[in-house]
């Protein structure tokens, strides 16, 4: 009897002493915060994690990776907000038809993923500083990593400001901008801090973007050990090129030129386009028009977001899946619009037409064919990099600034325009533009703007150009331009040089839909952020 009692009590005691082990468990699938900056290796892993945040985030609340903020979802919307593509399916229809509201998934997810990336950058910036202070990484490495984070932070904020705010030229930046986040938010206290800061004016956002990019330019390396790293991680040239883009939006032509001159030689030989090499980073156009797409890390790809077979967005977020013709293995959800295809400014024998575009079926219709881009080619594993900055953009941006700066027709602008365009011409020497081809400065700027639409078609750049030029009477689209009706209409609508009348009405700049709504959940949880009017 006593024995039994003893056994029972022993069992109880054993149980109680065994408990420690049961409760003392720690995660195996995530490391504690402090460890993330505890060694040089962990610092690099954490930095890579910021790039990952730029690569392929999900729809809000979901897990499927759709390519926000700098993947397919973003690029396709950048195009679908404009008139140069046709949305065929339901996928980006809301964007295409501008029927979004404060809870529409696509614009909520972009905002969500942009700021998710920005906070990761900020968390790392503080982590790298602390690691450098402790001597875990050298001060130089710390600054370099910080520069990469600040580059991404600037890229992210600029993307947000052009979708959710009125352009800089509207009141010289005095309209409501978007929140600029420049400190790590890892606690409720930090959240309370942002909840007392409203939307800064657009001009302040631009100032902070430029400050970040100045820091990035100073601290980033000019080159990296491999072509892949040189393209997929920020370099000095990427910071400068992004600054050019940002200053273009501000209408700061001398600023663009000053930055551009760092990346473009003083004299260029437009017929010999590969001879135009950036003094920083040795960037140059590829010889062929499809060079930046046959190789993900071409000499022209200043900055792209990496995707590969091991880590790519889902089929609903892959560039090739969405843009690619069904005949080639894509889904064919976004086609090229006759608005650009039929544009008389785009020569019918331009090499880009035959090299970068194909006719094909969409998943929607095997009978109603359309033109699709084949810039993105990895249909099955979706490993196409998402191009962000190409050297061609540097050249055309500088060309535009030179053209606008000049009172008359800028010869340098014409040469720069030709450098990009000649690559696509059958006989560049005879077909290239001459200064005499342009009646005025306005005509030249228009030609450059058109060249941007052609060169960057299906690279998500269209919205940026619509947004920044909308208040310039000479160059404005008036607002969201008229577009082809959603859906496939067959090849008969495509005819080089024949005017095309779009069926979807334009939306004027004055309309509230010109800019996207701030997501409803932002307004609910951060009421100091004011919604864009009428949403």
């Amino acid at each position: 009897m006593k024995k039994i009692f003893c056994i029972a009590i022993a069992a109880l005691l054993l149980g109680i002493t065994g408990c420690k082990k049961v409760l003392d468990v720690a995660p195996n699938n995530a490391i504690p915060f402090d460890m993330a900056f505890s060694t040089a290796d962990y610092c690099l892993l954490s930095l890579n994690g910021v790039y990952d945040a730029a690569q392929s985030g999900p729809y809000t609340g979901g897990t499927e990776r759709r390519g926000y903020p700098f993947g397919a979802a973003n690029i396709e919307q950048g195009d679908a907000r404009g008139e140069d593509v046709i949305n065929l399916a339901a996928f980006f229809q809301i964007t295409y038809q501008a029927s979004y509201n404060a809870t529409t998934a696509n614009n909520v997810a972009l905002w969500d993923n942009l700021y998710g990336m920005i906070n990761k950058a900020n968390v790392c910036i503080e982590g790298f500083k602390a690691a450098a202070d402790k001597g875990i990484i050298s001060a130089a490495v710390g600054s370099e990593y910080e520069a990469e984070c600040r580059f991404l932070r600037a890229l992210g904020h600029h993307e947000a400001v052009i979708h959710y705010a009125r352009p800089y030229l509207d009141g010289n930046g005095n309209k409501d901008g978007i929140p600029y986040r420049d400190f790590a938010i890892v606690s409720p206290d930090a959240i309370a801090r942002i909840q007392s800061t409203g939307r800064p004016p657009v001009s302040e956002v631009y100032e902070k973007i430029l400050a970040d990019l100045d820091f990035a330019e100073t601290n980033l390396p000019a080159t990296r050990s491999t072509a892949v790293l040189k393209t997929t991680r920020a370099t000095k040239a990427a910071a400068i090129a992004l600054k050019m883009r940002v200053k273009l939006h501000m209408g700061d032509w001398p600023g663009v030129i000053a930055e551009g001159n760092k990346l473009v030689p003083a004299t260029v030989d437009p017929v010999n386009w590969t001879s135009v090499v950036s003094p920083i980073g040795n960037w140059a156009l590829t010889n062929a028009v499809d060079g930046p797409f046959t190789s993900n890390s071409s000499t022209e790809s200043i900055f792209s977001i990496k995707n590969d077979a091991q880590d790519a967005p889902s089929t609903n977020g892959g560039l090739a899946a969405m843009f690619g013709s069904a005949s080639l293995g894509g889904r064919g959800l976004v086609a090229i619009s006759p608005i650009i295809w039929n544009n008389t400014g785009w020569k019918c024998d331009d090499k880009r037409r035959s090299t970068l575009y194909v006719t094909g079926a969409s998943n929607i219709s095997t009978t109603n064919l359309s033109y699709f881009t084949n810039k993105y080619r990895d249909y099955t594993t979706r490993g196409d990099y998402a191009p962000q900055i190409r050297y061609a953009e540097v050249l055309l941006t500088l060309a535009e600034a030179e053209a606008r700066q000049e009172g008359g027709v800028s010869a340098r602008a014409v040469a720069l325009l030709n450098t990009v365009r000649n690559r696509a011409l059958q006989t560049p020497a005879s077909e290239q533009y001459t200064v005499g081809d342009f009646a005025s400065k306005v005509a030249l700027v228009k030609a450059i703007l058109l060249e941007r639409r052609i060169e960057f078609l299906a690279e998500g750049k269209r919205w940026g150009d619509i947004h920044r030029t909308v208040l310039e009477p000479d160059y404005t689209t008036g607002g969201i331009p008229a577009k082809a009706v959603n859906g496939a209409n067959g090849l008969s609508i495509y005819e080089c040089g024949t005017a095309y009348t779009p069926g979807q009405a334009a939306i004027p700049y004055s309309d509230y839909k010109f800019i996207w709504p701030i997501p409803a959940s932002e307004i609910i949880n951060n009421p100091i952020i004011k919604q864009n009017p009428t949403y």
């Binding site: 039994i4 069992a11 109880l12 149980g15 408990c19 049961v22 409760l23 720690a26 995660p27 195996n28 699938n29 995530a30 915060f33 993330a36 892993l45 930095l47 890579n48 994690g49 990952d52 809000t60 399916a89 339901a90 996928f91 229809q93 029927s99 509201n101 809870t103 998934a105 905002w111 700021y115 998710g116 990761k120 929140p179 986040r181 938010i185 890892v186 409720p188 930090a190 309370a192 990496k306 590969d308 091991q310 880590d311 089929t315 293995g329 894509g330 079926a361 929607i364 219709s365 095997t366 099955t380 594993t381 009706v485 859906g487 959940s521 932002e522 307004i523 609910i524 949880n525 919604q531």
Partner: protein, 1039 residues
Amino acid sequence: MRKLLALLAVWLCIGQLSAQTRTITGKVTSQDGSPIPNASIVIRGTSYGTTSNSDGSFTMNVPESARVLIVSAVGMASTEIVIGSRNVVTIALSTLNEQLQEVVVVGYGVQQKKAFTGSASKVDVKEFSNLIAPSVDKLLAGRATGVQVTNQSGLVNQPARIFIRGINSLSQGQGPLIVVDGIPVISGNLASTTNSNALGDINPADIENMEILKDGSATAIYGSRAAAGVILITTKKGDRGRTRVNYDGYVGFSNVLKKWDLLSGEEFVTIANEKLANAGLAPRANMDSLGTNTNWLDEALISNAFVQNHTLSLQGGNAKTTYYFSLNYTNQQGTVFSNKNRTYRVRMNLDHEVNKFIKFGNNLTLARQEDYDQNNGANSLGGAIAASLRLLPNVSPYRASHATGFNINHPTANSMAPGANTQSIDDNFFNIAFTLRHNKQYSDKYRLINNFYMELSPVNGLKIRSQASADMLNDYSLQSWDPRHGDGYSNGGYIYNSNQNFLRYVWQNYFNYNLKAGMHSFFLTGGHELQSTTTKWFSGSGVNIADLFFLKEGVISNTAATPSIGGNYTKAGFESLFGRFNYDFNNKYFFQATIRRDGLSSLAEARRYGSFPGFSVGWRPSEERFWQPLAPYINEAKLKASYATVGNVLTSANGFPYLTTFGPAPYGNISGVAINAIGTEALQWETSKKYDIGLELSLLKNRISVTADWFLNKLDNLVLEVPTPLSAGVPGNMIYQNIGTSENKGVEISVGATVINKKDFTWIVNANYSHVKSKVTGLYEVNGVPVEYIQNGNYNLIKVGEAYNIIHGYRYAGVNQANGNPMYYKADGTLVQQNFRTGASIGAFYEVNKDDGSLGASTAMGFADRVNLGQGVPVWFGAVSNTLTYKGFTLDFMFRYSGGNMIMNYTKQESLMNQSFQNNGKEILNRWTKPGDVTDVPRLYYGQGNNINQNSIATSRFVEKGDYLRLQNVALSYAVNSQALQKLTNGFVQQARVYVQGQNLHVWTSYSGADPDNISSGGVDQNVSPQIRTISFGLNVGF
């Protein structure tokens, strides 16, 4: 037979030669005097015994030392009688149903029902264990008050959703704790590629008893896991006496209860072309010369899906050892083409009494479940229902000229040929006739629950029990996609294999001590429990598969051009101390106090422990002298009240909501880590303060019983995923905080009555009614200002002052008769129309100028124009069941009802009323076509479905009442006269019963969707497979 017994008696005598013996004869009857055959009569302290004959009589030789006989029989309370010097005894057993004998299974013990002061519902599983379902949860609806059980679809392997007394957490676990034979088991929908119900590993036929603990007093002993209630399942044990062998089998057929009415081919052509014409586009739809008219639902759903179930059980024992063994095979084909559950289950329950000090036993559950499923995605292009509602009815699924025989465009594109139409279906919904046959989703699960206990009885009234269990669940899952068409096309074929392994150890050491001193009775329970759960999984998958050949049964090495791996390992533990004290004065006044202290591994070390007390009191006025005059009418009355603070377990994506962590974040093939959770060090348990006041009455000599409860669950310190501004960039856009408050208040009433009780005819009615009102009372603050609501998905708000998950959207104002535009009310009451006429911006809002069709001032519908359109969770529910017996015939039928909720009919909004080149529901035929048309369906306009239907926003146009009455089941059985049967079969067959039954026979509802039960917890019906109706035929034979 007699001879045989005589021989046995002789043999027994021989066995007892050394001792002096005497012969005892007797008869075992029920209280009304009818004989009880097969009763077991055993001499206490020995294994000597016999069983009664068909007339209840028995004869046995007993040693002179025998003092007490233990008599037991199935369904009767076991009785001990002192024989003294008697040689003839008559033993009247009382049935277990008699209230005074009833016990309530509670945590870590049992209590007399009369002394039980908590609130619990006993569910008599025997009433429905013959109904068809792979698991008991799917049969629970309507069986207990306060317990809302929803089968959310017709998929056979999807677990039911169970809310006990409302939704008891806003963002943490909302389902009850499930305890089988004292052990909290692994439960949930656990397979990785299919629906799969872990509770399906328990054969419903093996369940002896289910007790659903609802109030604080009853649940407090489960402390931090009790907020959402506790379901205690007790499996069958053996009886002393002869071995009884029982076979129970049934076969049946399932069909869809209700399908959607879709357009025919001809109607589709009209509607599709009208959509296009209104948008200024040329017609594209045409009928082909064959007049093809495909009902795609017929491709996704099958008729007369076959179901079968066979259980063989052995039950018996002697004075020392009792056992219950069972074997089961179930195969239930779902009504969706590839949906199926196949289960093999074995149970071995063994109890052995070594001597009066030591007793031990072991319960073993072995199960294998195979589940088959398909793409059920509500938005998936290959979703079985989502696609079949939209695929073009004038296009055939098949095409003889294609190598596969299906109408697909492989290898040129991932689409279907458009038939006579000039375009294929918009958005490229897949040919599901192909994908349902060629894609595979399969899960093969093995389950072992071994539960061993040893019980010591060192002194009278004290029992010390140590119980240890291991619960292992292994899931091998497969998903493969054919490269020729559908989801697998763009991948060049896809295969995914995973192995998940759950392992849970539980070790309990506790005691029960009873002490009776005069009119005072004390019951004490106390103990300690440890629980450790490990979850491991890994997966291998690949795309670009070498050949179709390698997509069949599992991943094959070196066949995927691009392979990838996945995996995880998590561990969590509990440690608990618990105690319960009951005091009972003279069976009249009762008091109970309970305490549980829980430690949880997912909380920070300093915050790990929480204490959860509970109290209750009870009074039986019917025991008082003053009650005497009432006693003939109300023979039993009890009043009770309870209060407890219990908790709710914290779950989070990484299992450690208090930690800020960095998780894997590769940048392409470059490894990386990134912040993936922001922890809250101070996080603590959610608390639920549960109040209950109850009344139990028995009237007219137990002919009518009534129980009624009022309850209030006040939830505090709710662990909210407090939304952070998106622009904070916090992972998951939330930080856990103990901050919200909410409450569920309600009443539960249940009435049971024996309406007729004649010798050959009885009629028993049970009715229950529950009303649960939930209200969110507080959320969090932003800069000191209380936040009024949290968005919960597209359609729901969690809003202060309102029920949980209200549906939030626009008020629809019908169709503008003059121009066919849909109209809405803004928040301020302004009537606006959304334009779908050329000449003004398509999809834009304008005010309505009377009804002349012109457009007024331009306006907009914003977030602020959305209003409360009703709550998504039913408010009231219950059932009425009837049992009628006439001689050998028994007729059972149950009606179940539910309502007070609204349903957001997403299926109609997005699928049935789409404005794409896709099929529609018949309702679209009511569309506005000309001025003066009075209808709710606006003018058609191709490509404007998102706008016309306000997709992803709730509107009152698609929000409908969810009230219904359902004929849940009807069963008619015939039991062959037992005596005749035994005579006929020389006693080998003791009993036989045949039955026919129908489940889910009809629903009366105004809801226009497939079924008002097809809803999420937010009340959204999203392209869910229809509920099924099953007719089955069964046979039960006992040997």
